[in-house]
Symmetry: C2
Subunit: 119 residues, 2 copies
DNA sequence: CAGAATCCCCTCAGATACTG
DNA sequence: CAGTATCTGAGGGGATTCTG
């Protein structure tokens, strides 16, 4: 099946809602690292369920690494971009450049920290 | 809402199944142009319904232009990549490079004309 | 040839509530 | 704090049939 194509497969999870924004959030963190709640608080509207699912998916795909702080109460876990995750950020930047170039009518984005963040 | 972000919005339709493959198909056509059935035949597994829907969406987003040959029976219609559509191909190439670099286990893609086509 | 119409199942994603 | 469990509605996408 054509669905097996890497491009299609890749874009199937990258295309899901919130995924790219989560990656950018980790990218903005110190050492490309953020804690669960940190990401959650910085992405207004996302639910714990969705964030959890996306992070798990990204971990399985190798773009994100999870580390659990042992012996801390309450529990702390950190998510860090891997090398491949870091490289995909460049692609995201390109998408953003493309979008800003051809979809300038969309002012909502410029109003958010979306524009400042990685461009 | 964060959903208004251009990156997220863009990726919402680009991330749909078949979309990128359709764009690449047009890209491979003479003058970046292909007819409906041409695309359909070259993407085994796609249904007319989905192809139709994707092309309409891409047209609305300005990546594709539709031209109907007047007065021909049976009807012929052509789809051509616009300037913005052509530019997004570069992004798709980057995604493919990324995927081939980090997901080499996925041999299915290399076996198809997927690898030859644009890289 | 180039679709549109219908049916139907599945996944996505939000809301809400609960837990180690 | 960092999740999981459950329910629900909306949209995605395949199969099939029909049409100008």
């Amino acid at each position: 099946m054509q669905d097996e194509c890497t491009v299609n497969q890749t874009v199937r999870y990258l295309g899901k809602k919130w995924t790219l924004l989560i990656i950018l959030e980790l990218y903005k963190g110190e050492g490309y690292t953020r804690r669960f709640t940190e990401v959650k608080d910085r992405l207004p509207g996302i639910t714990a369920k969705v964030l959890s699912a996306r992070l798990k998916e990204l971990e399985e795909e190798g773009l994100v690494e999870r580390r659990v702080e042992a012996g801390t109460v309450p529990v702390r876990s950190e998510y860090t971009l891997t090398e491949s995750g870091l490289e995909i950020v460049e692609v995201i930047k390109d998408i953003k450049r493309w979008a800003l170039r051809w979809k300038i009518e969309n002012l909502a984005c410029g109003a958010q920290d979306c524009r400042r963040c990685v461009l």
